[in-house]
């Protein structure tokens, strides 16, 4: 009766409502079985014994079994997890069967005999498991006794009593069943435990605690609380006040996963908690030596010759994120930005501003880049103050004009620069397994990610790199510009991503455009190298290369060049603009 009640409790468990919600779909559950295939376990016990009949002890010395796992299948049922393990031939050899009896009045003589071998064929063990959470981790317990089938053969030199043999065989079965009962649930649980979402990611130590679990025929769903500690160092002094919780943590419905193996949902409340933690650790404080990210964004406008200024930025209040269907909105109250420099040892504030920054952030997937991308919309700046006393003239509206420029164009420009910005790769390799993030979706209060797993023999996995090609399309000696066409042949259909290197000075980021603009004011001949990458991250090991002579006019396209995000040395006018923007917007210290 107790057993039935336990099952009923599991089936009607409350929906998962934690900050991180995990879903292991049937295919993903079964995928864990791949890790067991081919594994061999050795059972070795000095003695297995019991009291039997007139024997005080009847047992086996040097008990050993070599247990090869042939396959393991895992099925999600509506109320339990069904695990079926099929074994290869199990063999134990060179054991000793013994019987001990200290009584003198019975007819059970003590004996010792060679137990030449025990062999189990066609062993299949079936387990029904119930998920639960113990001490923050997944625990799988037996819903009922295991079912083991197979045939056992033994070869024992001499047995004093024919009844002993069945007893010995039962002992072997029980040992096998007990071992399987102890090992298999823990092994299966270990594939889906909190370590799935724990570990070090970039500069964060992620630590998860599982809080609850729920089983259905569609998925094993678990709820977790995630903590993230930023491991970087900060020179900033963060206001030490306890922030209020913000954000919803709805129960997520992952459905059937649409073919995915795993689903990971993160709620608005969890994200805000992570942001709060990161913020209080100083992650959102950008002293001068952490302005590289910003510099990368403004590099097209910054003349590299401009140097020496010291920019810094800090989000002095806790950011707040909201997730609604289709989008995420971030509010960064009180962004403080400063550009300072020194004159005769005296520190001078060139620009200082305090502004509230609101924006819509869209995290998406770009399959061709195999990357998680970020797109920013509706970036809005609301100024609390803006000081640029030395930079600005004494005209009446100078400050307002600068504010309008920053609030309108700069905000739009930053948004335009952060369109589909590749953040992180969505494909990883771990334990001979290819892990790919296949889809991201938003709903009110949470975002969901769907993951597909591939083993090393999966024919769906592309392992052949593309073959890169490159051609010259256009050269204009007057503008010192050239366009090259990028291409490649791959064994699979699908777009390719390209990276370009000029004169061996470093590879560009991956791009999807099949053309690239070269601008070089100083060199006549430019060595161009191109590599292609398919969406399984296979990179052509042999770059295609050729030399472009910028003095040699060529027009294969008629395409007009202007406003490109070109590489190459800055022209004098770019220098002027770089200077202008550098002084009005931001500057960067060259090291």
């Amino acid at each position: 009766m107790l057993f039935v009640h336990l099952l009923a409790m599991t089936a009607t468990a409350a929906p998962v409502e934690e900050g991180v919600q995990l879903a292991v779909f049937p295919d993903g559950a079964d995928f864990a079985g791949h890790f067991m295939e081919g594994q061999v376990f050795d059972v070795a016990l000095d003695e297995v014994a019991l009291e039997y009949g007139c024997y005080d002890t009847l047992g086996v010395l040097d008990f050993n079994l070599n247990v090869p796992v042939e396959s393991m299948s895992i099925d999600l049922l509506s109320q339990e997890i069904s695990v079926t393990v099929t074994f290869g031939t199990i063999l134990g050899e060179d054991m000793v069967l013994f019987g001990e009896d200290e009584d003198w009045f019975d007819v059970c003589p003590a004996f010792t005999t060679n137990f030449r071998y025990a062999q189990v064929d066609d062993l299949v063990i079936k387990l029904a498991l119930l998920p639960s959470i113990e001490d923050g981790d997944l625990s799988l317990s037996l819903a009922r006794d295991v079912i083991a089938t197979g045939s056992l053969h033994t070869d024992i030199e001499w047995v004093p009593d024919a009844l002993i043999l069945p007893l010995v065989e039962d002992m072997i079965w029980e040992t096998l069943e007990q071992t399987a009962t102890e090992m298999i649930p823990d092994m299966v649980a270990s594939y889906w435990d909190k370590d799935m979402i724990s570990g070090s990611v970039f500069d964060f130590d992620l630590s998860a605690r599982l809080d609850n679990a729920n089983i259905s025929a569609q998925a094993l769903q678990m709820g977790a609380t995630l903590e993230a500690n930023w491991t970087g160092s900060s020179q900033c002094s963060i206001a030490n006040h306890e922030p209020e919780d913000h954000g919803r943590s709805p129960s997520l419905d992952f459905g059937n996963g649409n073919g995915a193996d795993l689903g990971i949902g993160i709620t608005e409340g969890q994200l805000n908690q992570l942001f709060r933690q990161a913020w209080s650790d100083g992650f959102l404080c950008f002293p001068e030596d952490r302005m590289d990210l910003v510099f990368e964004m403004v590099r097209p406008l910054i003349d590299p010759e401009v140097g020496g200024l010291a920019p810094s930025a800090i989000f002095s209040e806790i950011p707040v994120l909201s997730i609604d269907s289709g989008r995420a909105t971030a509010m960064f109250p009180s962004l403080k930005l400063e550009i300072r420099g020194e004159i005769d040892g005296r520190e001078v504030e060139l620009v200082a501003l305090d502004a509230d920054l609101n924006t819509t952030v869209e995290i998406g997937l770009e399959p061709a880049l195999t990357a998680l991308t970020m797109t920013v919309h509706d970036l809005d700046l609301s100024f609390k103050y803006l000081r640029a006393d030395y930079l600005l003239s004494d005209t009446e509206e100078a400050t307002e004009h600068l504010k309008a420029f920053l609030r309108n164009w700069v905000a739009d420009w930053v948004s335009s620069q952060v369109q589909g910005l590749a953040l992180f790769a969505t494909q990883f390799h771990f334990l001979d397994t290819t892990i790919r993030l296949d889809d991201i979706s938003y709903e009110d209060g949470a975002m969901k990610m769907f993951i597909k797993l591939y083993d090393e023999d999966d024919p769906d996995v592309d392992r052949l790199p593309p073959d890169t090609s490159v051609e010259l399309l256009y050269t204009n000696p007057q503008t010192r510009q050239a366009i090259i066409g990028l291409g490649g042949v791959d064994d699979r259909e699908g777009p390719l991503a390209y990276a370009v290197q000029l004169n061996g000075e470093g590879w560009s980021s991956w791009q999807l455009e099949d053309s690239f603009v070269i601008e070089d004011s100083w060199h006549s001949d430019v060595l161009v190298e191109v590599i292609a990458r398919d969406n399984w991250l296979n990179v052509d090991p042999s770059p295609a290369s050729f030399i472009v002579n910028l003095n040699d006019p060529f027009d294969g396209t008629g395409e007009e060049l202007r406003g490109c995000g070109c590489s190459g040395s800055p022209s004098p006018r770019n220098g002027f603009m770089g200077l202008f923007v550098a002084l009005t917007a931001l500057a960067y210290r060259r090291r």
């Binding site: 406008l301 010759e305 100078a398 420009w413 406003g563 770019n574 200077l579 202008f580």
Partner: protein, 449 residues
């Protein structure tokens, strides 16, 4: 630099052949068919005179310039702008016969001049806020009688040109040129409105002239050629990329402007009691249609001592940081053919009079017209009197009224987003109406010894 050069082409309207850039140059008694000081204004062959002659002429030129731009930058309703001013135009010439067949002459004149000023916040501020272009020329000439009826002459012209200008600039256009469509919104952004000033631009161009005077029994024929002169201006340029910023770019101007060459031919013959004359001239304004301008030794400067120290400390005032700035300006100037005619005769023993009309077409193509360079179909109507009460001294009075045809531009090629170097340029549209009223009065003294 485009605006700078467009301001120069304001001279386009000054195209009458009788007076170089200024149609009434020389005063009441001047004419290309006149020998002596009164003819030296255009023809070096006039240097051979019967006696020593000295001509002093002073003109006062007044104008009223009115324009209405149809598409103000701030999208306000079009408003007419009117500017009135006057300026002097002196002329001095004398001729000395060295023998019966050889004479020399010297003339000093102001053949090209244009001065204008508008409000710094006016609708035409990007085209011009203020500008001045003056060209003083000293021409020495020698004339030789080849035959009793033919005199040829040659002249060496030494000029002193002065140029200054101020106009608003839109640095947003520069951002648009560099960044492309994503910077389109910066065009017209108040934060990116600045000014460009050229100060103390001077040049000493050199050129030559040749001409002839042929006296036939019933007519006098004159003709000649004046070479173009290239003014290589040197001066100071200051560009304030944003009026809201406390810094500017300063550099040295290194620009060229070609004052056009001219061909002329004139004839005068007695018809009844009067002398009737006509002249035709070709002014090669097309030679000035493209000009290369450079700003060299450019550095970032500021008047703020703290910011100045800051920039110096971080090397931001290093001229190599910015480099030289070069641009090729296209101004849509074209050659023009202008001409006119006159009659003159004696009123009595002491008085003589001249009536004439000269007509010149505009030299600036419609696509390029804006408030800083507009020119017109113009008719110079002249009436002049010469009084000779004192033997060797003649006194002349002249009055000119220049009737112009209002110019209405509806297909301006100017566009702030126009970054095509082959077209009109990145300036606010010139669509609008332009009208100029101009008149002049002059006093001449001619001494004949």
């Amino acid at each position: 630099m485009i605006g700078l050069l467009l301001a120069w082409s304001q001279l386009g309207w000054a195209g009458s052949p009788s007076g170089l850039g200024l149609p009434f140059l020389g005063g009441a008694m001047s004419s290309p068919v006149e020998p002596g000081a009164a003819g030296l204004v255009l023809n070096p062959a006039a240097a051979l005179s019967e006696g020593v002659e000295l001509l002093l002429d002073a003109q006062r030129i007044g104008y009223t310039y009115e324009y209405t731009l149809y598409e103000p930058l701030d999208e306000s309703s079009p408003e007419a702008f009117e500017d009135s001013a006057s300026f002097p135009a002196p002329y001095l010439a004398f001729s000395v016969p060295l023998s019966d067949r050889v004479g020399i002459g010297l003339s000093a004149k102001l053949p090209y001049a244009r001065i204008g000023e508008g409000p710094p916040d006016g609708t035409a501020r990007f085209h011009s806020i203020s500008g001045k272009l003056l060209m003083g020329e000293l021409e020495s000439a020698i004339a030789v009688e080849v035959t009793p009826s033919l005199v040829i002459g040659a002249g060496f012209r030494s000029g002193l040109a002065s140029y200054s200008s101020v106009n608003a600039i839109d640095t947003g256009i520069l951002m648009y040129e560099i960044l492309g469509e994503e910077a389109e919104d910066l065009i017209g952004d108040p934060f990116f409105e600045g000014t460009r000033s050229v100060r103390d631009g001077t040049s000493r161009p050199k050129s030559v002239s040749v001409g002839f005077l042929a006296n036939f029994p019933r007519a006098t024929l004159a003709g000649g050629w004046r070479s173009s002169s290239t003014a290589r201006f040197e001066g100071e340029v200051e560009m304030v990329p944003s009026n809201d910023l406390n810094m500017s770019l300063k550099g040295e101007l290194a620009g060229e402007f070609v004052f056009p060459s001219e061909w002329f031919i004139a004839v005068e013959a007695p018809i009844g009691p009067v002398q009737a004359g006509a002249e035709l001239g070709l002014i090669r304004w097309g030679q000035s249609s493209e000009t290369l301008i450079a700003i060299v030794n450019t550095s970032l400067t500021t008047d703020d001592p703290t910011l100045s120290g800051f920039m110096s400390g971080y090397g931001l005032d290093d001229p190599t940081l910015i480099g030289d700035i070069q641009s090729m300006g296209k101004f849509g100037l074209r050659d023009i053919l202008a001409g006119g005619g006159w009659v003159k005769g004696s009123i009595n023993e002491d008085w003589a009079g001249t009536l004439g009309v000269w007509v010149s077409p505009p030299s600036v193509g419609e696509a390029f017209v804006h408030p800083g360079n507009a020119d017109y179909w113009m008719a110079d109507l002249r009436a002049a009197l010469a009084w000779n009460p004192l033997g060797p001294v003649k006194i002349g009075l002249s009055a000119d009224w220049l009737a112009s045809k209002e110019r209405v531009i509806e297909q301006s090629g100017l566009d702030l987003k126009n970054t095509d170097p082959e077209s009109a340029g990145a300036l606010p549209s010139g669509n609008g109406s332009y009208d100029l009223d101009m008149s002049s009065v002059g006093l001449s003294l001619l001494f004949q010894f």
